[in-house]
Amino acid sequence: MKGQTFVIMAIIIVIVMVMLKSSLNFVKIIENKRYIESGLERYQFQNVKDELEKTIQISYPNGKNITDNLNEFLKFSRQRFKSRTIELNGLFLEAYFPTIETGIDTRLNVSVLNLLGETINTINLSFSGSGVGQTQTNYTFEDYNILDTNFTFNLQANVYNYTLNITYNTSSENATKIIIIPTEVGKTKYIYYFDIRMVSNKLEQRDILESTVILNESS
């Protein structure tokens, strides 16, 4: 074997080593890890949403119980995540009315929980529909606070969809949401609208949960 052969072999080995090294893409591996970790945060966000819906299911048949339990769970979750530097924020609106009878005034109880992480400067709730037009405005609605209010309606038909319009503004956002209140003679309903957000240093997540639950219906 000639002496140059050693040098040529050494160069070949060096090329192979360089190729091996460059095929190990550390940036991609770290990105993959971050992705998997953010997947875990997505699970945790889903966990909160699932338990919110479960709270509604297990807090039947009283609309007041649902509101109290939801508020408790939300405050609990928020504190829990805060200790791990994850912000759980949102605006949570619940509306509840007892069994409706035709031609009799019925009260719609509305509860709004501010967990936006900031003060709502102005919040406007407007309830409208057949023969109804009521508006309530509140100022300086602090974070962690609950706004309880009510509206009255008198259902003349068997079924009617009223409209609850919520408008609010904070130092960082202005928002408007229209919520349908589907009233029906002989039924008790609970309507919710949750705008829920989770923010960490890895991920920002936001979701809207809204639905109507029939709590009771008279035969």
């Binding site: 000639k2 002496g3 140059q4 050693f6 040098v7 072999m9 050494a10 160069i11 080995i13 060096v14 080593m17 360089v18 090294k21 550390f26 591996i29 770290i30 890890k33 998997i36 970790e37 997947g39 875990l40 699970y43 945790q44 966990n47 909160v48 699932d50 338990e51 479960k54 709270t55 297990i58 807090s59 039947y60 119980n65 339990n69 408790e72 769970f73 609990f76 979750s77 504190q79 829990r80 791990r84």
Partner: protein
């Protein structure tokens, strides 16, 4: 003379390889840790499965950590140790000493007529 030259070239070859090896592979770049993330995902999914089947509330209601640990035996990897803490907002520290330790938290609200916000913290480790 020819033999000496051959040896010299062999030494040069070794030096080239050594230089490149030290330059490229000398700096330690630690590979990210994936195993503990896998544990976290498995732990979370196990608790979620128990919650979905309404089993979890039976353990959280009575703070039955040992019962829950036994139940998790068939759901978690065999090669890891684990410990469960059930608590509300203030939770005790299990004081586990291990080089590889991770934990996940699962929030739960209990069951019908038994609403209770609780967290289940699953510590997973290998000694």
């Amino acid at each position: 003379m020819k033999g000496l030259l051959k040896s010299l070239e062999a030494i040069i070859a070794v030096l080239i390889i050594l230089t490149v090896f030290i330059t490229y592979f000398g700096t330690k770049e630690a590979l990210p840790e994936f195993e503990t993330i896998t544990w976290q995902l498995k732990g979370f999914n196990s608790l979620k499965a128990l919650d979905d089947s309404n089993e979890l509330k039976n353990y959280t209601k009575t703070n039955n950590t040992s019962g829950l640990e036994t139940r998790l035996l068939s759901m978690l990897p065999r090669d890891i140790d684990y410990e469960v803490v059930i608590c509300d907002l203030t939770c005790s520290d299990p004081n586990i000493e291990s080089e590889k330790l991770t934990s996940i938290t699962y929030l739960t609200v209990g069951g019908v007529n038994d609403f209770q916000s609780k967290q289940v913290i699953l510590y997973m480790y290998r000694e």
